[in-house]
Symmetry: C2
């Protein structure tokens, strides 16, 4: 159970949707939904390639769903065997998280009583990101013949499509191909498929079919099943114009190469890479199998979609599970996913960060559009940093009219989130090169944006951050949101520190950058205004931090009472006339997220008082909310609450309980921010691990049924193995230390020996 | 027709409501609706006393409707004769605007065919503000007997009542009284009634009745009608605890005095005062009887409700016509009514202004409540300047939920409106004493409020006025509303000028005031920030002034298209989700009002371009809108449009076409701001009269059918008679000039001789 998610006999539309997300395979370049081989767009098959977007007319711009090369449909005496229409004697579908392999086994009973068994497994190669490999076999309980229709299905599921046009199918040297172009920018794409048979097995007869009406490239196999089974391999190669000038040729070539290497060799290489990944990041929880599974599941999903191949793409809010939320990159990545990568695969974290460097052009353009300077990052970032967020993001259920929302124009904290993320990477890894390779430019431009955004209040002698929306989107256009102001202050501080660091360590690059950005005067101003920025969270210990100016004047209504006022189950609680708008009810962690991001800054009584105040007022209308409440709960002695919120976060895609539809619009998909949040709740919260300079502070707050936690992480370039119980902490370097690390447990701070381990009691 | 409004045979509920407003009589202390003597609360009888408010529970605070002392019901053989239930042979109801007298004459046919005629007339004495006098007579076409029930009806119409409690009826020396107390502050009130008969007429028998259930003090008269008629007089006296310690005694005493003086003498004194008023302000239009009537009607209503007796009350938005809009004082008074009084009865204007001085306490409290300093005047001002405006002023028709509006907290221009009004009074009258008697303190505190409200933008090096609602309430919470910023700038300038004036002319009072307000430092700051305030209207001639930051980015939809999208006739176009909110459609004159208030500042091409741009985008959802469009239209050569908008404003209460109900809530009443707007549109707009220092500039833009306009007005203390035609302007001082005045027509500027007249051709 620990490594495998198995589901049996589920075939309602909701189940199909959930499995599609939950059992997704991917390698960062491509995500392939956990659907069955005989499925089509009606069951939301999808092959989402990272970073390729398209817009049709004035519909929403969204990722392109490539033709589905995994299609296989078995016919028995002309009768299609299909999970949803055939009699099923047995069916399991599973995901091997250790190796990112999807498997299915289905026993069909045909109308004449024949039992036909289909087995298939597939993986998106981690060694070769453009490749999906599949092994497929069919057997029967009697001598009979079957037909198989298979190939590339170009009639794909789209939310705001169709994105593929000029679809051309072809066959050459036994390789089927489907080439097409996207609508908006005419980017060429191609998917090719080759098949192979196990050595020595008889080749069946097959014929190639082109079905122009359905935009497909299929082949048909007719085979006799005599006391045995038919097994074959499919190699599916995916390329786009972003990868090179001739995707069609590239995909054909890769299919040929794959067939030469063979399925087993490809599988081995793939498995080895995944095993190495888990060596670096696995967490073992003794005493809690559901938590163990949920946490591994969370890490699996982050790893399956992390762009190892490129720093020009990042992780969308719904991962690579579809076109939902326009495939856009939100602050989710920086705030909720990045910490996992910082502490496990800093090179992946680096890619995610550099995406923001590579999209500075869009952020600068957006700042200008609104009359500001510097970098105002997209709320929903697509390629080049284009903001896909519309001004009318929600439909009013009472009038069916588009509702004006202020996500795009007022969530200015996004630029602070980006700067925060660069800094977190830097202090966790100690890697200063991030600054010279784009980080400093990003941070300078974010600070400059805030410089141009803020206002001085002459009367109160302070700078203020006005007219913003914080994480709690139910309260738009507020002044001095505690979270936003703190992030702005932090951005200004980082800017000053990075400038100082560059000046000392990289003086030539510093001068070059400051000249290029004409930043000298602004840097002086930033240092000046940083002294006078209003910070609503600078209060006496234990005081409640007001979420924004006037928050306490809002109606203090119990959440249940508020929800009971709903007239329509889908009505939006925020916006101009929302039920929550004029009350203290918040959508998601806002002040409590601040406590989490700037943990050290707040004494325990402040964290405790604010958690107690805000928890009953939080609706958790976002998957980003629970992890912050878990983390702070762990610190203030509420381990039960910490566990409850951790499990809520970690199981979101296992249970599929997130909201899947708004009206008729599908908004389901995976929740990588929840996955990252689960990791943080476990590691930072329950395990109480926190970096501080070169010291790793560890103060476990384990649930009583967690006997032992063994975890691997990377800190300041050092791979460490940490074993926690409720009474002791043991740390072992996985390899000889190359730079010093200390371990602090309670009042004890001990340098970690280069080899060997240390054990400390928990106070 | 010119002086009298007469209506016949109208008895639908809408007619009853409209007559109640239209035919109202009043003297500034009291307003008495134009209802019939037999009417009760079901027909919205009302006796509204100026400045007395009451709140019951958490309902809206509103004016107190006093017991109705005008009640008379005739019975013929036990059959009540009532306009709404009897057979009516003839009925007219009229208002003599020259003397503010309400009259009715009704011929009833009883069930046996008897024709009974009732005549009555009444006036609210201008000589004795607490008194209403009535003459009532009844006659028949045959010998018969009638009964009359009459007295004081304490069962009054309330919107958010009942406000009267502890009602006690009494009789002493033939005088009936009803005394009561208000709910909130237990303010005593009393109404007394005495009756008298013409000299020599036989007194009928009568008996006094107290009907405790109905909270009434009635008497019953039985009389024979033998070839003659019964005539009697009623004297109704009204006092409240605001007038003295014993309202009951005061009202009885006044009833006795009135009976001694007699109806005719009281009428004579009253008529003389009204005739004197009209001598000072009448306007005669030759060639346009409807315009003549509508303009006099407008002036009549302003005069009938102007508080001649007190500077502690002002004119509510619905005058004294009921409890609508909480009886509150809005900016309507300062911006739309005051100019009429400035130019006709400066002593009334002074009272209106000093109301703002007397309510500084509330304005200071409101500023503090929102974290500002100085004076933030109430959006809906009641006694002491308390703001009666709620945060939820409108009900959403789709959900029936209260809708958050930002009238109270964001229409900061109110403090600029007040300062503007003081300045206009000063420059029109030349009366410097206004500054030492409260005006300077008001202006200083308004400027101080804006000082504490504004923000400095470091990047743009300017002060900005953020997060406000301008006159166009469909666009709430905007930045740098052109109107508001200009008023703020003006307030700062006035402040500096008044300070300079005081320093020279009243140095001791200046020092005293600056000390009292601790204003020295703020005055310096005000002078400093005034140099750097962002003014969106400072553009090249002919440029379109953006109503606020980002206005031009809003959807540019034709008004008709927008209105066609309404799903409910009563849906509010503004607020969070309103149809107009995200478009360029505005509720009412905003930029065009700015052009009007600061007329001199804008070259003709700017006025023209902005009128042409904003006119098609204006919904005129407020009665305050049309007059600005009229006025600017006259200046830019669109006399037809000017006339159309003038008539729209001047006839609003004649036609009763304003909105009377929102849902089930009655919001009808008189529109004194419309009345003032009509005067401005006629005098400033069509007649083109404008003061500039000691010079009166006159540039007529008369509609072609207006042969001649003769008007009286007061300018810098001098009563002038002005005769305009399309070709010439003649000005005569009514009395010997006591200070110099020049007249400018076209390029000619001529000093007005102390006696005699000047005539100038129109260029």
């Amino acid at each position: 159970m620990d490594w495998t998610i198995t589901e049996s006999n589920l075939r309602s539309p909701q189940d199909i949707d959930r499995q599609g997300n939950k059992l997704l395979i991917g390698n960062g370049y491509i995500g392939y939904r956990g659907t069955l081989e005989e499925f089509t767009k009606d069951q939301k098959t999808a092959t989402i390639v990272s970073g390729l977007y398209d817009q049709v007319g004035d519909q929403w711009r969204e990722p392109v769903n490539l033709p589905n090369g995994g299609f296989v449909q078995v016919y028995y005496q002309g009768e299609p065997l299909h999970l949803l229409s055939s009699k099923i004697l047995e069916h399991t579908q599973s995901l091997d998280m250790q190796h990112a392999i999807h498997e299915r086994c289905t026993v069909f009973e045909a109308q004449d009583g024949a039992q036909i068994t289909v087995r298939a497994r597939r993986f998106a190669s981690l060694a070769e990101p453009h490749l999906i490999c599949m092994e497929y076999s069919v057997s029967a309980d009697r001598t009979c013949a079957v037909d198989l229709l298979m190939g590339i299905d170009g009639d794909v599921w789209d939310i705001n499509g169709p994105h593929l046009q000029e679809i051309v199918s072809s066959e050459r040297d036994g390789i089927l191909s489907l080439a097409a172009r996207t609508h908006e920018s005419s980017v060429p794409i191609a998917v090719s498929e080759s098949i192979a048979f196990p050595a020595g097995s008889p080749k069946p007869t097959f014929s190639n079919l082109h079905e122009p009406r359905k935009s497909c490239a299929f082949r048909k196999i007719h085979t006799d099943l005599e006391q045995g089974k038919l097994t074959f391999y499919k190699f599916i190669a995916h390329f786009t114009g972003h990868d090179g000038p001739n995707p069609l040729e590239a995909s054909r070539r890769l299919c040929q190469q794959a067939a030469v290497l063979g399925f087993e060799a490809l599988l081995q290489a793939h498995n080895a890479l995944w095993e190495k990944r888990w060596d670096t990041c696995d967490i073992q929880i003794e005493g809690d199998a559901p938590a163990q599974q949920a946490l591994r599941f969370s890490m699996y999903h982050l790893l399956a979609i992390a762009p190892a191949h490129s720093s020009h793409v990042s992780i969308p809010a719904r991962g690579l599970s579809g076109q939902v939320y326009k495939g856009a990159i939100f602050w989710d990545t920086e705030i909720f996913m990045l910490p996992f990568f910082n502490h496990t695969f800093p090179e992946l974290a680096r890619n995610l960060l550099l995406y923001r460097y590579h999209t500075l052009v869009g952020a600068r353009r957006k700042a200008q559009e609104y009359g500001f300077r510097g970098a105002f990052y997209a709320w929903e970032s697509q390629d080049e940093g284009k903001d896909a967020c519309t001004l009318f993001n929600i439909t009013d259920v009472f009038t069916n009219r588009p509702m004006r929302t202020y996500f795009r124009d007022k969530q200015v904290h996004i630029s602070g989130d980006v700067a925060y993320a660069f800094w977190q990477y830097f202090i966790t890894t100690g890697d200063t090169s991030i600054w010279t390779e784009g980080g400093a430019e990003v941070v300078f431009e974010c600070a400059r944006f805030f410089l141009s955004y803020m206002y001085y209040n002459l009367d109160k002698r302070r700078y203020e951050i006005l007219d913003v929306t914080g994480p709690d989107e139910y309260h738009e256009r507020v002044h001095n949101n505690a979270f936003t102001n703190r992030l702005v202050a932090h951005t200004l501080e980082i800017c000053i520190q990075v400038a100082a660091l560059l000046q000392v360590d990289y003086p030539a690059q510093y001068v070059e950058l400051v000249d290029k950005l004409d930043f000298e005067q602004d840097l002086k101003l930033i240092a000046e205004v940083a002294q006078h920025l209003f910070l609503p969270d600078e209060l006496a210990p234990g005081a409640i931090i007001p979420q924004f100016d006037g928050y306490f004047k809002l109606e203090d209504v119990p959440l249940k009472t508020l929800l009971a006022k709903k007239l329509n189950p889908n009505e939006y609680l925020g916006g101009g006339n929302g039920l929550a708008t004029t009350t203290q009810i918040l959508k998601q962690a806002d002040v409590v997220l601040t406590l989490f991001l700037f943990n050290d800054r707040y004494p325990i009584e402040t964290r405790s008082a604010n958690w107690n105040f805000y928890e009953p007022r939080t609706e958790h209308g976002s998957s980003l909310s629970a992890c912050s409440y878990s983390l702070i709960a762990a610190q203030i002695g509420k381990v039960d609450w910490a566990y409850k919120y951790f499990m809520k976060t970690a199981t979101i895609d296992l249970t599929g309980e997130g909201k899947n539809y708004v009206g008729t619009l599908y908004i389901g998909g995976t929740h990588p921010a929840g996955n990252g949040g689960a990791w943080m709740a476990a590691v930072f919260g329950l395990c109480g691990i926190q970096g501080a300079g070169e010291t790793l502070k560890i103060q476990p707050h384990l649930p009583s049924h967690w006997k032992k936690v063994t975890l691997s992480l990377v800190f300041r370039g050092q791979q460490l193995k940490i074993i926690l119980t409720s009474s002791s902490v043991t740390v072992q370097p996985a390899r000889k230390l190359t730079s010093p690390v200390s371990i602090a447990v309670g009042d004890h701070t001990v340098p970690l020996p280069q080899n060997g381990e240390i054990s400390l009691p928990v106070g």
